[in-house]
């Protein structure tokens, strides 16, 4: 589904990704781990299409299409979802209103019929319950005054609502305590499917106890330096990034 070949990305003129290659098939969950500054967030932003992140070399192919040619909203309509590390607060826009606008914008883009307000509400309510997202949160302005855990749960709620084909989770575990983490992981695991691929980006191994990956890639200094099965996570925990990077060199 996702085929990244020799990707070089520069941010503000500085090269961050230096030849990254990665392949993710439908039905798989891949984890990207790496030390701070390795380029993890850069990878997620360039996949979502954020301006300021320039591809200087290489390609990103999504379901046979060149992803780099599409603006962010079109990528979303085609099934790319980025759960952000720091979800943005938008005062003046209620969560419910936002969910309805986004869902229908995506449906319109795909030539599908729009859902009416009642339909959206029903759909949202069903998913909100499992993620412990209250009615009250839905009425509040998007992410305004939400705790870290609440913000992350709302991101996963959106993932459930939009039913993406490729879900990228950027440090979804940051700032969460064990209970919140479990809840979020359950939500993510509940969305696994043979037609869906997931890219879980994390710094710590802990999340991967709950969301068990099929494959782990270690990103350091803008490149994938090591790959392996889920055991690699434990090896990283024991040895630390420095050693793995050294071993790979």
């Amino acid at each position: 589904m996702l085929d990244i070949k020799n990707l070089h990305v520069a941010v503000n003129g500085k090269e961050i990704l230096k030849g990254l290659s990665l392949r993710v098939d439908a039905g798989q969950v891949h984890a990207i781990m790496g030390p701070n500054g390795s380029g993890k967030s850069t990878l997620s932003y360039v996949l979502a299409g954020r301006s300021g992140y320039d591809i200087t070399e290489g390609s990103i192919t999504y379901n046979g299409e060149d992803l780099a040619a599409l603006p962010p909203e079109e990528r979303a309509a085609k099934g790319v979802f980025l759960a952000m590390q720091y979800p943005v607060e938008i005062p003046g826009v209620t969560t419910m209103m936002f969910l309805k606008s986004a869902l229908n914008a995506q449906r319109r883009s795909r030539g599908e019929s729009e859902m009416d307000a009642i339909g959206v509400l029903k759909s949202v309510r069903a998913k909100a319950a499992t993620l412990n997202v209250s009615e009250e949160m839905l009425k509040r302005a998007l992410n305004v005054g939400f705790s870290g855990g609440e913000k992350k749960r709302l991101e996963i709620l959106q993932m459930a609502l939009f039913e993406p084909k490729l879900a990228i989770l950027d440090e979804t575990d940051s700032g969460l305590d064990i209970d919140a983490l479990r809840l979020v992981a359950e939500g993510v695991n509940g969305l696994r499917s043979p037609s869906r691929a997931m890219l879980v980006i994390t710094h710590y191994q802990r999340l991967l106890d709950y969301i068990v990956p099929d494959r782990i890639h270690v990103l350091a200094k803008g490149r994938i330096v090591a790959e392996g099965g889920k055991e690699l996570a434990l090896e990283l925990e024991a040895k630390g990034y420095e050693q793995i990077v050294k071993d790979a060199a």
Partner: protein, 354 residues
Amino acid sequence: MNPALALPNRRVEEWKYSDLARALGDAGFGDASAGVQMRVLPACVEAIELDQPVRPLWVSAHYGKLKTNAVSALSLAKAASGLALRVPKGQVVAAPLRLTVTGEGHTRLLLVLEEGASLTLLEEGDAAGTRNAGFEIVLGANAELHHVRLAPVSVAVQVEEISVRLAGDARYYGHFANFGAKLSRTELAIALEGEGSEAHLSGVSVLSGNAHADVTTYVTHAVGHTQSTQLFKKVVGGHGQAVYQGKVTVAKGADGADSRQTAKALLLGERAEADLKPELEILADDVKCAHGAAVGDLDADSLFYLRTRGISEQEARHLLIHAFLEDALSDIAHNELRETVRGAVSRALNEVAA
């Protein structure tokens, strides 16, 4: 003395961003009188035309005190017609009173709310006339006024000076929505004269083309334990110019005064201009005063977030601009009036986007 000479130009500090003399030209405001229309007069409200020679006590007691600068002195001198309204003691008027200021020239209004009275007022104006209006509002103890002023987009020069005097525990909620004119100035002078009185001002300006809108407020906390808040949001497209000057004065001894002020402008046109001057003059120490002002563009992170969720760039900008104005609009308590203003704002925003 030629009245036109006395009109302020940009060398007068308070009119620095709004050169009235230049916008009017030699003709000045002229000598005509504009008028005030009112469709329905609620049962308990008393109304007197100001062109009547005999005026009741409640009019002569309060009328004509607003003449502090050349512009208001002129409207007082020249207005041959106008309207005075009174809500008697204890009367709570449920339905909003609607006034429309029409025509060219000068006009005057007086609104007196006696002790414990309560009223919601929608004030509109027609787009055509070059106008200089003076509106005096007197709120008795514990009276409450919700004032929504909707000024249409115009190519004329339209100036309105509003003075509000509050006795103890009186409350004034004013919302000012304007869409620009060749030169549009809304000047508010609020005097919190009694302890426990409160003034809450909010407003939105949505400008496109060459529209100009100046909102200037003077809020004086004459005594302690008074409260004032101001929230003004401006969206400026094209070559529009939005001006906000808000001076808050806390008099000596006015301990317990509490004042907040926020003015923010969103510049969407490349040649759009915003001039903000929130001024504080504090002569008492046991007070809480703060103000904030900001000018900027739409937040890039918010735009990106919305787009990754499938919302097109255009729609995302639209959503964020509406969101920006929302807190100033939600200050309007009366549901129907709020929707009226929201509708006018949406229509004006379409002009900005175009």
